[in-house]
Structures are given as C-alpha cells and as structure tokens.
C-alpha cells in the first residue's frame, strides 16, 4: 500500500490532482472565513450588479450584485458535499450488489446484473432528470436521483473484480484449506477489490460534480439563491456577451475541481493496476 502511495505522489500529474482536491476540501471547510463577502450567499446588492473583475471583486459581481468569488468559494462546500453523499450512497448499494452477484453464480446474480444493465442502459442524466421530476425538483431529490443512477457503476466494477478474484488462485487456496466463504469475501476479496472501487469512487466524485452542475444549470437541482456553480452559469446566460466573467469563473471552478478528482483517479488507477505499473516505469 505504501509503495502504491509513493508511486502516486511521485507522479506529478496525480500529485497535482491530490493537491487540487485537498485545496478544495480546505476551501470548503473554511468557506465562511475565506470568502470576502460571506453574506453574499443570500443577500443582493442591486446597485453594484454586473461589475467586471476588479481589486474589490476579483471575479466581478453577478446580476444581483453579489461577489462571484465569494459565491464560488461558498459553492465549493455544497459541490463536495453533494458529490460525497452521492458517491457514498451509490457505494452502499453498488458494492454489496456487485459482491454478491460476482461471487455467486445463480439466478439471483443473473437478475441483479440484469437490473444493473437496465439502469446502465438509460443515460444517467435522463434517468436523474426523470427521477428528479417525479419527486419534486430540489437539491435533495437531485442527490437521491444521482445516487440511484450511479450505483450500477460500482456494482459493475465490484462484480468484475469479484469475478476475477473468485477464480484467483489465492482464493482457491483459501477454499482449499477450508476457509468459509464469508471469510474469503470480507477479508480477501473485498480488500483486493478496494483499489478498483477507490478509483471508481474518485472518478465518480468528478462525474457527480459535473452532473449535479448540469442539473443546476437546467434548473432541476439547486434552487436560487443557493451559490451553486451550475445555477450561476445558467443565470449568467441572459447577460452575455457583456458580463463574460459571470459564467466564466463558476465554470472554471467546476473544471478545476473535476479535473482534480480525475487526475487523482487516473493516478490511482495506474498505481493500483499492476499491469500499467510495469509500463509506466
């Protein structure tokens, strides 16, 4: 494990990803302290609307005169919180499903994987939109919808890993010395599948932030006056091309955070994959 961590940090690209993610976590944790105008989350100042970037407002102000930098900082917290809850919830469903379906080879596992396939057959966004619409739009609904659409990815990943490990020689050897399936699954298969799950989760964080932003942009996620990044981009559309800074900075925030998770995920994948490990030397 420590060897993998060293390898990860030695790779400049994934180290950069880790730095971005840690930075975002820091910003989210101290958002009220870091934001120049923390009250701008909800207050509006119509006299100073749509000001271009300046020393006073580094990212400019929006259509309600709110400081965009402050709102970008404040939006980090909800972006991370949404992504984390969605990924954790998706893991809570997907891992047990994948583990069971991968380990057993009967009609139940067939049914589980068919259900997973069906979920995968509908584009996530459409499914999330449909779910969101059926249960009153809002950020909580969006989170439930995203979790319900993302778990199949974990199920697939864990299924594939479990199938691979099930025929691994060391699992066979454990069965050979009389180990119970529960021991093999929990102490051996699951830990061996974890690197793949971790990679999937990291990438899932980035993916969820993106999708949540799309939902916000389309008006079925976060609702005003929440400092949601996607929502901000949507609000900015009416004020183009004059207020170019208005959509630019929230969008860059999305890009940076998602990039951080993707870089980290990519590095983790290489660190965890022994085949690529060899080729990257």
């Amino acid at each position: 494990m420590s060897a993998a961590a060293t390898r990860l940090l030695r790779d400049p690209v994934s180290a950069l990803g880790l730095a971005i993610v840690l930075f975002a976590v820091f910003v989210a944790a101290f958002a009220p302290q870091l934001a120049p105008y923390p009250e701008d989350a909800y207050e509006s100042h119509l006299l100073q609307r749509l000001r271009p970037p300046s020393a006073e407002f580094p990212f400019g102000t929006d259509n309600l005169g709110r400081d965009i930098l402050s709102r970008v900082i404040l939006g980090t917290r909800s972006a991370l919180a949404v992504a984390l809850s969605v990924v954790v919830a998706a893991m809570a469903i997907g891992i047990p499903v994948g583990l069971f379906a991968g380990w057993r080879d009967n009609w139940v596992s067939d049914v589980l994987m068919r259900v997973t396939d069906v979920f995968l057959a509908v584009p996530q966004l459409i499914l999330a939109l449909a779910l969101g619409q059926l249960m009153r739009p809002g950020i909580e609904t969006a989170m439930v919808a995203l979790a319900l659409t993302y778990w199949p990815f974990f199920a697939r990943t864990v299924f594939a890993e479990t199938r691979r490990l099930r025929s691994a020689l060391f699992v066979d050897a454990l069965a050979g010395i009389g180990a119970r399936p529960s021991r093999i699954l929990l102490l051996h298969v699951l830990p061996n599948a974890l690197p793949a799950v971790l990679v999937r989760a990291t990438i899932g964080m980035g993916f969820t932030i993106l999708t949540a932003a799309i939902l916000g942009f389309l008006g079925v996620g976060a609702a005003p006056p929440s400092p949601d990044w996607g929502l901000a981009v949507a609000e900015a559309r009416q004020h183009l091309p004059e207020a170019w800074w208005f959509p630019t900075f929230p969008g860059l925030a999305i890009l940076l955070l998602v990039l951080g998770f993707n870089l980290l995920g990519d590095g983790l994948r290489d660190a965890a994959d022994p085949r690529l490990r060899r080729s990257r030397r």
């Binding site: 396939d117 584009p123 939109l129 779910l131 619409q133 009153r136 559309r237 080729s279």
Partner: protein, 337 residues
Amino acid sequence: MARFVIRRILLALPALFGLVVLTFVLSRVVPGDPAATLAGDAATPAQIAEIRAQYGLDRPIWEQAIVHVRQVLTGDFGRSVFSGRPVVEEIAFRLPATLELTFAALLLSTLFGVALGLVAALDHNGPVDHLVRLLSIGGLAIASFWLAIMLQLVFSMDLDWLPLRGRMDVTLGTPPRVTGFLLVDTLLAGRPDMLASALRHMVLPAVTLALPGLATIARFTRSGVLEALQKDYVLYARAAGYGRVRLAAIYVLRNAVTVTVTQIGLLFGALISGAVAVEAVFDWPGLGTYAVQAILSSDYKALLAVTMVVGVVYAVVNVAVDVAQALIDPRVAEEMS
C-alpha cells in the same frame, strides 16, 4: 454472422423489457403522490383526484402495470401535457435532430480520439503522450454546458464566425422534410447554401458534445495500443520483419480498437446526456430540449417516452457495437454461439 446478429438482438430484448418495468416501478415507488406532483403545487384535491383517474392511478397496482406495459409496447404514450399533441409524433419530429448531432459528435470523437490515442501510445511517456493524457483527463472535466457557452461567447458573440444557435439560418427557410436529418434533406432538396448553413450551425454543438467522447476514446485507444504492443504477437511480427507503420497502424490498432469500440457503446449514453445540456444552450430542437421542457412542465408522458426511446436507441447502438466487435475479432462471435 446472421445468427450472431439475431442472437444479439434477442439478448437485448430482456434489457428493454426491464426498462419498461423499471420506468413503471420508478414512477410508482418514488416518494410522494405522483398525481399531486403532476397536478402542480396549486392543485386542489379535486384536481388531483381527476388527474389520478385520468392516469389510471386509482386502479390496482398490477392493473396499472399491465396498462403501462401495453401502452409502451404499442407505442401509445398519450398526448403531451405541454403541447397537447401525441408524444410519439413529437418525438419522431425531434429524434433526427438529436441523432444527427450525436452521430456527428461520435464521428468527430472517434476519428480524433483514435488518432490521438495511437499517437500518444507510440510516443509512450514522451511529450505527445503527456499532452494527450492531460487532454483526455481535462476533456472529461469540462462541463459541456459551460464549454458551449464559452464557445458561443468566443466564436459567435465575439468573433462572429459561427452562428449562435439553431440548426439553420432562418432567412433560408427549411428544406422539405423527408428524413428529418437536415444534412440529408438539404442535399435531397438540392440546396448547397442550406447544407452549408446546416453544417456551420452544427460545428459548435458537435465539437462541444464530442470533447468528452474524444477524451474517453483517446484514453482507451492509448491503453489498448500500449497493451497490444506488449503482446508476444507484436514481438513475433517485429522479428518476422513487419514494417513499423503497418505494425502500429493496422496490426496493433485492430486489437486496440476492440476496447475502443466497447467504449463507443458506453459513450452513447454519455452523449445523449451531454446532448440534453448542449441542445439547451444551442436551442437545438432535439430530444434533449424536449426532455428539459417535459421536466419543467411536469410532462410525465413525454418524459417516459423520451426515456424509452433513448433506451431503445442505446440498445440498438450496443447491438451495433457488438456486431462491429464480432467483425473485428472473430472470437467474439464464436464465444456467443
């Protein structure tokens, strides 16, 4: 081969049936009263009851399920709440626009993605490789709706090189609708000016939509080529004196694209998702804008139909992907039978 195709189509049917069931379950299991949701916030109990009766929500659940399945199988999705026209008709009108856009994007991402992935793999750990790696990670990090707006800002509003929105210059009118695919219809109408306009309108949406796919394809092609290059048969081919170009561009690439082709199938879902946002920004009159409209106006039937149509398209694409794979790698078809 024909047997393989038929078999593959038959295998897709359970998944489609599962989708029908899933849409039903989701629409009934979700918290809250769907009738109340459909009726809107200001509805009176009487209105809610009316809607419940109208949608058959007051019947026993199994009866609802049978009605649902029968309606979906016969393509009877009812009328849109929003426009009052049959949902099927509306979708038939909009589907070609979305397909045209997604296929254009797919073409762009496949062509450039495969080329970039190949070049990166051949320059393993070199500067080109790092650049493509960054691009392939960055391409997946950009929110499509934001990229669309930024491109509009630069290329339409600022530079005024490309049209801002829509599928066609309004002053040109529209060609007679034959296929619904504008690129085809303008050609059939013999209107090169219209074709040019349609192409110009397509550039920004297609590029926006293509970027994530390009990133994915470049990434998988790269790793596929790298993996194939390590195989014994490559060493053997080198020892036997294959030419370098042929080795990389044909011999190895064909093995690598089996992975890529699978990704194209999976990508199609992401493309449709992306199309929702991209169509919204570019006012593209396709399924994506229709879906958003349906959501914002709580048009349950329209949304159900969109979900089903997208599921069917997705299934068709994946059957095509499997057939393509069987054509590339003869072992695939034999494993199936």
